[in-house]
């Protein structure tokens, strides 16, 4: 607008609010703001009137009442005497755990399927195409239900593990025995694995209602410490390589640094395993992973993996052919070409769709409703809502939490994206 200076300064007319570009945007914004506020006021007014008509109020006090129901999978301490907010926290943790493992497995699966789909092995390429197309074009809900049904219909029942009186009389072992040297049992109720625990505890510290075991803290500290030490070692090796052209042999040092400290700490703390044993009805002790979780994890990973495979494939295809030809000319083998030349470049193209797939996966954990996996929706937006009749409060709280999770994930991934982005100068 270079001619702004030439505008005649003949006072202000009302019509300028619409026809003068200097004022029009302000006019529009003011009108929109008024309309927006009116809309919000209308909604709030309706809500207040409706609540009054139903003789209800908005109060979050019910969250501190006794929940009264039990949850199958609890990763934070919870009993039916705990409060509703505690139940919501249990649900939130269940959601996050599912989303976390789902993202990891989906990524692994997606990268493999995407790369293998471009493989020159005919049958593998076709199989991967079939996998990607089938999973992308059938609703996730169907996969969740299907995996769940398969798990509970095809695996041995707990009854098969039982040493019944009849079998003892016949001198026969139970129909099915535990695998991995009698430590792991896979039944149609869930997966039972040994639970690690420390014989010598260092005690616990209490932090705002949450008790944290010092043992766990120590283990985490040691793992992070050795990880950092290993990185320093590798950086040092790279420096030597750049200076001398020879790469020092470090794999055994690396292994030592990574694993020796943690093994020592575990021995010092007296690590042992609580192996599941067959009780009256099913396995007691150890860690039991219910099939609702497994089914969600498998279905989400397979479904999202198919989408990630598609993103990986198009990322790889977007890398110009000259790159791989140049790598072959340097004498690199196909595997190393993929790992060192193609994938790092494709990564920049892959990451944006990957972010949205992670977000989708996290939001799709709410489909746990289909197999009654008690995630955030199942506890706060399900049983709590249902038992207390506080729809408005529960739903708003639940949406807010989902929104915060989504925003955190997308901002984290955007940070990562800008870190690996091509730095143009």
């Amino acid at each position: 607008m270079a001619i702004v200076a030439d505008v005649p300064k003949d006072g202000f007319r009302l019509s300028m609010l619409i026809y003068d570009t200097r004022f029009r945007s302000i006019t529009i914004q003011v009108v929109v703001l008024i309309l927006f506020l009116l809309g919000v006021a209308w909604l709030v007014n309706n809500t207040v009137e409706n609540l009054a008509a139903k003789d209800k109020d908005i109060a979050f006090g019910f969250l501190w009442n006794r929940a009264g129901y039990d949850i199958g999978q609890t990763l934070v301490p919870y009993t039916n005497d705990s409060s509703h907010i505690r139940a919501a926290l249990v649900g939130l943790v269940n959601t996050l755990v599912l989303a976390f493992f789902g993202c990891i497995f989906a990524t692994i699966l997606g990268v493999f399927a995407g790369v293998l789909r471009l493989s020159n092995n005919w049958i593998v390429g076709r199989l991967m195409t079939v996998y990607v197309e089938i999973f992308r074009n059938i609703p996730l809900l169907l996969w969740i239900i299907l995996v769940y049904v398969v798990l509970s219909e095809t695996l041995p029942t707990t009854a098969d593990f039982r040493q019944s009186a009849q079998l003892i009389a016949d001198g026969l072992p139970p129909t099915v025995s535990m695998s991995f040297g009698g430590t792991v049992a896979l039944t149609n109720q869930g997966l039972n694995v040994p639970a690690p625990f420390f014989a010598r505890g260092l005690g616990q510290i209490s932090l705002g209602g949450m008790t944290i075991s010092l043992n766990t803290l120590l283990v985490f500290a040691v793992v992070i410490g050795s990880f950092l030490a290993n990185r320093a070692l590798r950086r040092n090796a790279a420096k030597v390589q750049e200076a001398t052209g020879l790469r020092p042999v470090i794999w055994w040092k690396s292994l030592l640094i990574l694993f020796a400290p943690i093994i020592l700490v575990c021995i010092a703390l007296g690590l042992s395993f609580d192996v599941p044993v067959f009780g009256r009805f099913n396995f007691a002790g150890g860690i039991s992973i219910a099939h609702a979780f497994t089914a969600m994890l498998v279905a989400l990973s397979l479904y999202t993996g198919a989408f990630i495979a598609e993103a990986v494939r198009s990322g790889i295809m977007a890398i110009s052919r000259g790159q791989s030809e140049a790598a072959f000319a340097l004498g690199l083998q196909p595997g190393r070409t993929m790992k060192l030349i193609i994938l790092p470049q494709a990564l920049r193209i892959i990451i944006p769709p990957l972010i949205s797939q992670y977000l989708n996966l996290t939001k799709n954990t709410s489909l746990g409703i289909a197999v009654s996996y008690l995630d955030l929706r199942g506890t706060l937006g399900g049983i709590t809502l249902n038992q207390t009749g506080r729809e408005l409060e529960c739903m708003l709280l639940m949406m807010l939490i989902y929104l915060i999770i989504s925003l955190i994930i997308s901002s984290l991934m955007n940070l990562f994206n800008s870190a690996v982005k091509l730095k143009e100068r």
């Binding site: 619409i18 026809y19 945007s25 529009i28 914004q29 929109v32 703001l33 927006f36 909604l43 309706n46 809500t47 009137e49 409706n50 609540l51 008509a53 293998l116 493989s119 020159n120 092995n121 005919w122 049958i123 593998v124 199989l127 197309e133 089938i134 992308r136 074009n137 059938i138 609703p139 996730l140 809900l141 169907l142 239900i145 299907l146 049904v149 977000l359 939001k363 799709n364 709410s366 489909l367 409703i369 289909a370 929706r377 937006g381 809502l385 729809e391 408005l392 739903m395 639940m398 949406m399 989902y402 929104l403 989504s406 925003l407």
Partner: protein, 485 residues
Amino acid sequence: MSELHAQTVPFVRDSMLPQELPPASQRGAVKWVRENLFSGPMNTILTVLSLLVVFLILQSSLPWWLNSVWNANSLAECRAAVQAMAGEGATGACWAVIRERWHQFMFGFYPRGLYWRPVLAFALLFVALAPVLFGDNARKRMILLACVAVALVLALIGVGTDLAHVSFAIVAMAAILAVSHLAPARLIWATLLFPAVGFFLLWGGSVWGPIGVLMGFGVLVAVYRLLLPMLGVVMGTALGFLAACVWWLMIQTHVTTVLHNLMPWGLEAIDSDQFGGFLLAFTIGVTAIAASLPLGILLALGRRSDMFLIKTLSVGFIEFIRGVPLITMLFTASLLLQYFLPPQTNFDLILRVIILVTLFASAYIAEVVRGGLAALPRGQYEAADALGLDYWKAQRHIIMPQALKISIPGIVSSFIGLFKDTTLVAFVGLLDPLKGVTAIVRADINWKGIYWEPYIFVGTIFFLICFGMSRYSMYLEKKLKTDHR
């Protein structure tokens, strides 16, 4: 050298040897297998593993497929038939349930005699989409429309329609074909009228309801035309819209009631709660995507706007919707909407779900359109400015036609995603094909305990529809790629 040559008879080949075949390992199937399956140790392992997987899948499921039963009245009969056919302990598929209940998977509780209405509406959907799908190619469009017409007639006969309605459909399709041949530009009217026609066909009721709504648009255009010379575009549009709202909210019912009393034409009214199965999935999916397009375009423009407030509101809305799962939106529709609307209004669940799903889809469409807008070279905007076009004119003539064209594949994938997600409506008590209808079928004492067959049936249909659409979207992408970038 030369001596040797001198002593030998010069050899001149006078007949060519027949061309030898390549060695056995370098030709035909063997070569193909070597190159494509066993070209290295890694590939060999992969091949063997893949074959093993295929074999295991076939081994476990083939007998089940082969022992299919099509004629039975209950699961128990099915099981008995399988035992009789393949011996004790054999398992087999019981497709009899699909045979008996297919209409519920397709149409829910829609009255059986009226299946021609959704089928016709579905065919008209393709007619409405024809200008969008093949707008530039008259021959392809004619072929598509002819295929739709033939498929329509076959489908109508398939669902047992009486002759009168079949012939009505034939006449309607013939008319559309004629219009498409003689005046292709007029076909856009079919697209514009489709929402009203589709609504009338699906829900029925008095013909004057949809006509009254259309008349509102007539009022809008008339007022706009009338005021344009006097007040300009902005005020003309605003007042036209206002007049249309006045018509819709205050006058329409009175006029349509009078008209209906004078000429009581219409179709049998169908309640939304009789919708179910794929009819419901399509109704929700198509309506939501169609309705979310204008909203999404506005949001995308708002997000790119220079005006701070508009940008903030658009970004806030888009990010909020994209941040929460669809299922929370559905529960909002079923549990919360009653709090946000004026007291004592109450309309049926399907409508509430469609509204919320539309809002949901509009955020995703906005992102797709934003991508299309971003893909346009800056020069296009500058050229529009250079021509002296104002904002809306530039959008209408320069920006949107190109940006939307680029966005079509994205819009189609949004539709695929949404179409798959319509299965979630089962959780608020609607009869989606996957969980809702299946649950009803299983609640029948005859079919209690049947699992695989309904899921496989529904999954196959979903796959065919979504796969077809994604292929079409890929084809479009390829076609559009040539003229941009």
